[in-house]
């Protein structure tokens, strides 16, 4: 009896020690994130409220509580916000439609052929290894007026003669879709790869057609992967502006990130840039929270 009590006291001490050990392991990285993420976010929020003293030189601001920056920025750029989130949403849906069959082919159809699986997986992550600016640039040439895509589509009469693809919202969304496709495909692959293939076979045994099995069994079971993939695509896409600048570069394709960049570096309007960036952060945070609440957090990444 007494030994049992003793071990439990000993165990408790061991657990406390283990707890301290855990904290020690987490502490350095935790402090780094506090100093270089949490505090900077507050820095940005407070900078968005700064005021410019009258007659001060450009780039000179003092701490204040000027909420007017927010209304000024939002009344000028509300349509840019809508465009950014619209583009990001379309790109996310397109990446899901393109990425899911790839993930399904590699993870489910090619099960039991590890070498082929491995090599196709390399193809999926291959874009990560080449410079993304170069990839965006090459889309610019592929979609160019004299490029083969435009001429082929014109010959097939899918596009009327003289249509341009570059400098259009289409080009920007296509570039974004391409850029974030691996981020969509990999989590879905990881999810499908772990899925018990007997569940899919069971659907067939119960006389479900291929598409019924897919809709009723495979798709619902792969929701965590879809959720992680859509978040990993949507979040960076909403803030991206490299595609908008390199593939669009006109007033119909301006994204929020582009405005934040130029407010900081061209207009030297730090409060305006900080306000826009804060609004972007808060909207995405709300979207993510709603998403997580709807689908659960278990396998978010």
């Amino acid at each position: 009896m007494s030994t049992a009590v003793q071990t439990s006291a000993e165990e408790k001490r061991a657990w406390r020690l283990r707890g301290r050990m855990g904290m020690l392991l987490v502490l350095p990285g935790f402090l780094f994130i506090v100093v270089f993420f949490a505090i900077p976010v507050f820095s940005m929020l407070s900078m968005s409220l700064y005021t410019q003293p009258e007659g001060a030189a450009t780039g000179v601001f003092e701490p204040g509580l000027n909420f007017g920056t927010y209304s000024a920025m939002m009344s000028t750029y509300w349509d840019t916000f809508i465009r950014s989130f619209g583009f990001a949403l379309i790109a996310t849906v397109a990446a899901l439609i393109i990425g899911y069959p790839m993930a399904y082919l590699v993870a489910v159809r090619l099960r039991g052929r590890p070498l082929l699986q491995g090599l196709l997986l390399v193809v999926i992550i291959a874009p990560f290894f080449s410079s993304f600016i170069l990839r965006v640039q090459s889309w610019r040439f592929i979609l160019a007026d004299e490029g083969f895509v435009v001429s082929t589509l014109e010959t097939l009469s899918i596009l009327p003669e003289g249509t341009r693809l570059t400098a259009t919202p289409f080009a920007v969304v296509a570039g974004m879709t391409y850029l974030y496709l691996p981020l969509m495909t990999l989590p879905i692959y990881a999810n499908l790869e772990r899925m018990d293939s007997r569940l899919i076979e069971a659907g067939g045994d119960l006389y479900a057609s291929g598409s019924q099995t897919f809709m009723r069994v495979t798709l619902p079971l792969s929701m965590p992967g879809i959720m992680a993939g859509t978040l990993l695509t949507f979040i960076p896409a909403a803030g991206d502006y490299v595609n908008a600048v390199m593939l669009g570069n006109n007033v119909n394709t301006t994204m929020v990130g582009q405005v934040i960049d130029s407010r900081f570096f061209q207009s030297v309007d730090y409060p305006g840039a900080a306000a826009l960036s804060s609004v972007l952060m808060v909207i995405i945070l709300i979207v993510v929270m709603a998403y997580v609440r709807r689908f659960g957090t278990k396998e978010i990444v």
């Binding site: 707890g19 904290m23 990425g99 082919l105 390399v122 080449s130 410079s131 592929i142 391409y178």
Partner: protein
């Protein structure tokens, strides 16, 4: 009945065809980059003007290109090492220990993943402006460590979660101390996960434009060099460097895949 058979047939070839097209779509720009690294382009790499090897022989010809390349390598290496060490510690602490504040630490690690690069870059820039910090290599490295660290934690936690705790228990049964069990059993099993996280960090940092653009000042990384050059046309030598890094990474990953495949087969044969 005939109709049903027809349907199943469609779903049979539908997936490979769509996926095949998607794989093609993924590879087109990469092939384009590779081919145009051999373009006898003159100053800008806009149209095909004949095959040459001279870009590959003198990749440093355009002013500033190789400096930017070296800058990016340095930043990515430092950021990868620091982010991987800090991230592995966090992952292990959060996954294997229970302690107070674990919940808030968890949230703090997750939050940076919900911030797009612009927000991460802009908030750090606000901080550096407030403190009057001179922007340069140090601020670039710090911003990249921050950018990578949460991805490292997520990658390694997933790996730790799939480890069988019975292995550590077995080590303890064989009278291994906690630290011996960790270094002899757990850590070796984690190495593939840590390597994957490090590779991911390196790729993220090496290829980042937005975060660096906000925090690097006049220090130029390779993506920044290319972004600025793109207005006039990126030189073919940039394609050479891009292609070189790509081929290096792909051959590394393919070699690992093939090695794992052969090892598994020979193990199976031995059994």
């Amino acid at each position: 009945m005939k109709q049903l058979a027809h349907r199943i047939d469609i779903s049979r070839w539908f997936v490979p065809v769509v996926a095949g097209l998607s794989f093609f779509y993924l590879l087109v720009p990469i092939v384009y980059i590779l081919i145009y690294s051999f373009n006898d382009s003159g100053r800008t790499n806009l149209t095909w003007r004949g095959f040459t090897l001279s870009n590959w022989q003198n990749p440093c010809r355009p002013a500033g290109l190789c400096d930017a390349f070296i800058n990016s390598l340095q930043v990515a290496l430092i950021a990868t090492v620091v982010a991987t060490v800090l991230g592995t510690m966090i992952a292990f602490g959060l996954e294997r220990f229970r302690f107070k504040f674990a919940g808030s630490a968890n949230l703090l690690v997750f939050l940076p993943l919900t911030a797009p690069e612009v927000v991460l870059g802009a908030s750090l820039l606000s901080q550096f402006l407030n403190l009057g910090v001179q922007l340069g290599m140090t601020t670039t490295v710090l911003s990249h460590i921050m950018f990578c660290i949460s991805f490292v934690v997520v990658t390694i936690r997933a790996r730790i979660a799939t480890l069988d705790p019975k292995l550590e228990e077995a080590a303890a049964d064989l009278y291994a101390s906690a630290s011996t069990a960790f270094w002899k059993v757990t850590f070796p099993l984690l190495i593939p996960g840590i390597a994957a996280a490090a590779l991911l960090s390196f790729a993220i940092s090496f290829d980042d434009f937005i975060v660096a653009n906000f925090n690097s000042g006049s220090y130029t990384t390779l993506p920044q060099f290319m972004y600025v050059a793109a207005r006039r046309g990126i030189p073919a030598e940039a394609n050479v460097i891009g292609s070189f890094m790509f081929l290096l990474a792909v051959s590394l990953v393919v070699a690992v895949q093939v090695w794992r495949y052969w090892r598994r087969r020979s193990l199976e044969r031995a059994v």
